[in-house]
């Protein structure tokens, strides 16, 4: 691996680790006794420190070293977990993020002043002697204070080098915490030069380290190699005086021989097997209880088992291509099957059977391939603990974030693109949704408010809900506000759903005062646009005094959609099934022209705007009379409307192909797909089409807003 790939790997891994670190640190506040949690936090910091140093990012590794020192105290139970500590750690995590971003982009994303300040904050938690560990002077005073000698036997795994670990690193780390006063290399397993495999490690070491650091610091050095290597650390301070091994005086001949490498290897193996393990040693030394060691060993065993289910990193581009190809295959198979049914005569039974099987297998294959791209929403959801914590603290509210359905899986791209809108909605709930503790008391509610984030599957869609138990949204206030902003006319007859949809219009914000975090004018319209981009929809359910729910409905994947194939003139289009309410063939009287507004269609008593697709897309067709054609009723987040098409061909799955890749975004479309006959068909973007068709309506709104701003 060259330095650059190494750096890239570090950045990817460190970014993931920091995400987990952040979640864990927030969780620490509530469960400060969770040993496993504390260890996980410590390990994350340690890993970033180690690998940061490995790729030469000394600033990052130095900084995480300071974090690690504080975390170590927590781990040793010498430092209690307080809200203050969590805040400082979170600030350090933020800085660490910025530092890694700096490393990734090559631009400086943080201020030196902030670094110094955070270091100082961290320093406050450290006892005096821990300050400024790195100066030579401090080291020597520490040595005088309390020096111990540890004998370390390193029987390293033969494959150590392949994991990217360099034994030299281990020595350097040891030298960071002390002085190696004696070292013997065991080169007995080194084959002759012709048989040397450069990727294998043949050397083992035994060394004596003089240090004032505790036992655990030495263990930490070996944290990455201990799984497949045998590391034994013994406190031999009693045998050493002024750096001289007093044991040699009464050492047995055999031991001396073994050390000098004069004894055959099987004897060494035997000797090694009789060696005491770290855990037993710790018990002997009375440092830990036996059951603790046992549980630690169980955990180790478990984590090793988990590791056995190996994972590999795959470029998402490769996955996208795979998903695409499989999707096309499924469609091609479906077409072949259909063709065969039409042409079927006697003697074709076996072909049909084989085709059915092929169709089933390709369906399974598609499902599996799609699943590769799916990740649970847990990672995304957990991140919001931090958001809620910070925001609630800033506003003096007590808010508990509950998560449910975190195991629900979503396409990776969708998960990534959901982060911003969800963050916005959660902020919105904490900021505007829930009341202050005082007001909640008055309303007879518990002081602690609840914001609940849940995910579940429903009929091939994923539903994500942000729910709060706050004061709810007053629909009358929305109507007044919208009228005031000129978004609607006073006296417009709107049902509840339509009223709540007004909140998603650009420029609409019900927050009475502008707080630091939300209500800056950019509001729910951005959320809606993000959800539109994901081909999803959003709606609001609210009850005064009880709370508000924002419900987001998303397709399972972005790569394939279920669509209705419709015909206009010579062209075929796909309308996403998710948007379709029904299809109707209107009779002559059903279509009416409303002066200044356009055409409406009577759909079961409800008058809906009618959009003639051939007009909007400028296509020639002779089916211009609605009673000879078909109207597909669709529902966007703003309104329901009818799309006039020549005919409906049928339902089909469509693999979404980008138009942008070779061309550009085309208004009113969400990409293209390739039909069974090899021709290209455009996929209609309901929201885009709506914008094109109701352009005049929209421009009135925009000018109204501008007028208000000026």
């Amino acid at each position: 691996m060259d330095q650059e790939t190494l750096l890239e790997t570090f950045i990817t891994e460190a970014t993931e680790l920091i995400q987990e670190l952040e979640i864990d640190v927030v969780a620490l506040e509530d469960s400060s006794d969770d040993v496993e949690l504390i260890n996980r936090i410590f390990r994350a910091a340690h890993t970033i420190k180690g690998s940061g140093g490995l790729v030469g990012l000394t600033a990052i590794s130095d900084f995480t070293h300071s974090m690690e020192s504080v975390l170590d105290l927590v781990r040793q139970r010498e430092l209690a977990v307080t809200g203050e500590l969590v805040s400082v750690l979170l600030r350090a995590v933020d800085l660490l993020k910025a530092m890694i971003k700096s490393a990734a982009t090559g631009e400086s994303c943080f201020e030196q002043r902030e670094l110094e300040f955070v270091l100082e904050l961290l320093g406050q938690f450290l006892p005096e002697r821990e300050e400024r560990v790195d100066t030579e002077e401090m080291l020597s005073t520490k040595n005088r204070k309390e020096t111990s000698y540890f004998e370390i036997e390193m029987k390293l795994s033969e494959n150590l080098l392949e994991t990217g670990t360099d034994p030299l690193m281990l020595f350097r780390e040891l030298e960071d915490i002390g002085e190696i006063v004696d070292i013997v290399v065991d080169a007995r397993s080194l084959p002759d030069v012709y048989n040397v495999d450069a990727h294998k490690l043949y050397l083992n070491w035994r060394l004596v380290l003089r240090t004032s650091e505790p036992f655990s610091s030495i263990e930490n050095v070996f944290i990455f190699v201990q799984d497949d290597s045998e590391i034994s650390i013994t406190d031999v301070s009693c045998h050493y005086k002024d750096g001289v091994d007093l044991r040699v005086a009464d050492m047995r001949l055999g031991e001396i021989l073994a050390e000098k490498g004069l004894v055959v290897s099987c004897d060494i193996e035997e000797a090694l097997s009789s060696q005491t393990r770290i855990g037993e040693l710790l018990v002997q030394n009375g440092k830990v209880k036996e059951e603790d060691v046992k549980s630690a060993l169980d955990k180790q065993l478990k984590s090793r088992e988990v590791q056995k289910a190996t994972t590999i990193r795959v470029d998402t581009d490769k996955l996208d291509k795979l998903v695409n190809l499989v999707g096309e295959m499924v469609i091609a198979v479906a077409r072949t099957v259909q063709q065969n049914v039409y042409e079927s005569h006697e003697g074709k039974r076996t072909t049909q059977d084989a085709l059915d099987m092929l169709q089933r297998i390709s369906g399974d294959l598609q499902e599996q391939v799609m699943r590769v791209r799916m990740i649970p929403v847990e990672g995304l959801f957990s991140r919001f603990h931090r958001v809620v914590r910070d925001l609630a603290n800033a506003e003096g509210k007590h808010v508990r974030l509950l998560l449910s359905g975190t195991e629900t899986e979503l396409d990776k791209n969708v998960v990534e693109q959901l982060s911003d809108p969800l963050k916005h909605l959660i902020r919105n709930s904490v900021d505007h949704g829930v009341e202050s503790p005082g007001n909640r008391r008055k309303a007879g509610k518990p002081e602690e408010a609840v914001v609940k984030l849940s995910a579940y599957q429903q009929e091939g869609n994923i539903i994500i809900e942000v729910l709060d138990d706050g004061h709810g949204i007053d629909s009358n206030a929305i109507v007044d506000k919208a009228a005031e902003k000129g978004l609607i006319n006073q006296g417009d007859d709107l049902d509840e759903r339509e009223i709540y949809q007004l909140m998603f219009m650009p420029g609409f914000s019900t927050a009475k005062e502008v707080t630091e975090v939300s209500g800056r004018g950019v509001g729910l319209d951005v959320v809606k646009r993000n959800i539109d981009d994901l081909k999803g929809s959003i709606e609001v359910i609210s009850e005064i005094g009880k709370g508000t729910t924002f419900r987001i409905k998303l397709p399972l994947t972005l790569a394939i959609i279920d669509g209705m194939n419709v015909k206009v003139g010579d062209e075929a289009f796909i309308i996403p099934l998710m948007a379709i309410v029904e299809s109707i063939r209107p009779n002559r009287e059903a279509v009416k022209t409303v002066e200044g507004t356009g055409e409406v269609i009577d759909a079961r008593g409800e008058y809906l705007p009618l959009v003639r697709l051939y007009n909007v897309f400028d296509i020639e067709t002779d089916k211009t009379n609605p009673s000879e054609a078909l109207v597909v009723i669709v529902e966007s987040s703003q309104r329901r409307f009818g799309i006039l098409v020549d005919d409906v061909i049928g339902q089909q799955q469509a693999v979404i192909k980008s138009l942008e890749k070779n061309f550009r975004q085309v208004e009113g479309t969400a990409g293209a797909t390739i039909l069974g006959d090899g021709s290209v068909s455009l996929i209609i973007d309901i929201h885009g089409l709506e914008r094109m068709a109701f352009k005049s309506f929209k421009s009135i709104q925009v000018s109204g807003l501008e007028g208000e701003a000026a």
Binding site: V616, F663, R664, Q665, V666, A672, V680, L682
Partner: protein, 162 residues
């Protein structure tokens, strides 16, 4: 369409100073062979709404959706009915794959850099900045097009996305 096969063979073996030549009206044009992926016969494509008139639509090229332009319309020449000679040059520009409709394809030719003159006074009705130079081939003149410029994002109106 055996001629197409031969030319496509030549295109895939194409080297630095080779050019694919084609006709638009009376004139013969050339583009560097390295820009040309292949040439396909004229085929039906799907119309795309709200795009400039020279963009005829999109077609499926082995699973990719590729836009197709009519070079006559791009050059403001008169529209001509497509016929058996009409072909689509598949070009690669700025990492985009784009199809270009021309009247007919002629050949793959070698043009020595010495045989190409900088754009002289030439009244072809085509914008001068679309022309890279004039190639002389025996008695024929070949207008070498600056295809990167003709198919650049700004020329394709890629920027005015609604």
């Amino acid at each position: 369409m055996d001629k197409l096969k031969g030319i496509n063979q030549a295109i895939s073996n194409g080297a630095g100073d080779q050019f694919v030549t084609f006709t638009l009206g009376e004139e013969e044009y050339g583009v560097e062979v390295l820009k040309v992926q292949e040439i396909i016969g004229y085929q039906r494509f799907t119309k795309v709404p709200s795009v400039p008139s020279f963009v005829k639509g999109v077609l499926n090229l082995r699973g990719s959706v590729v836009p197709v332009l009519d070079l006559r319309l791009k050059f403001n020449m008169a529209y001509r009915e497509y016929d058996n000679f009409t072909v689509i040059l598949i070009l690669e520009v700025e990492e985009r794959v784009i199809g270009v409709i021309v009247d007919a394809v002629s050949d793959v030719v070698n043009l020595d850099p010495d045989d190409i003159q900088q754009t002289p006074d030439f009244s072809s009705g085509i914008r001068v900045d679309f022309i890279k130079g004039m190639g002389r081939m025996d008695e024929k003149l070949i207008i070498i097009l600056d295809i990167d410029r003709i198919l650049s994002s700004s020329e394709l109106a890629l920027l005015d996305v609604a």
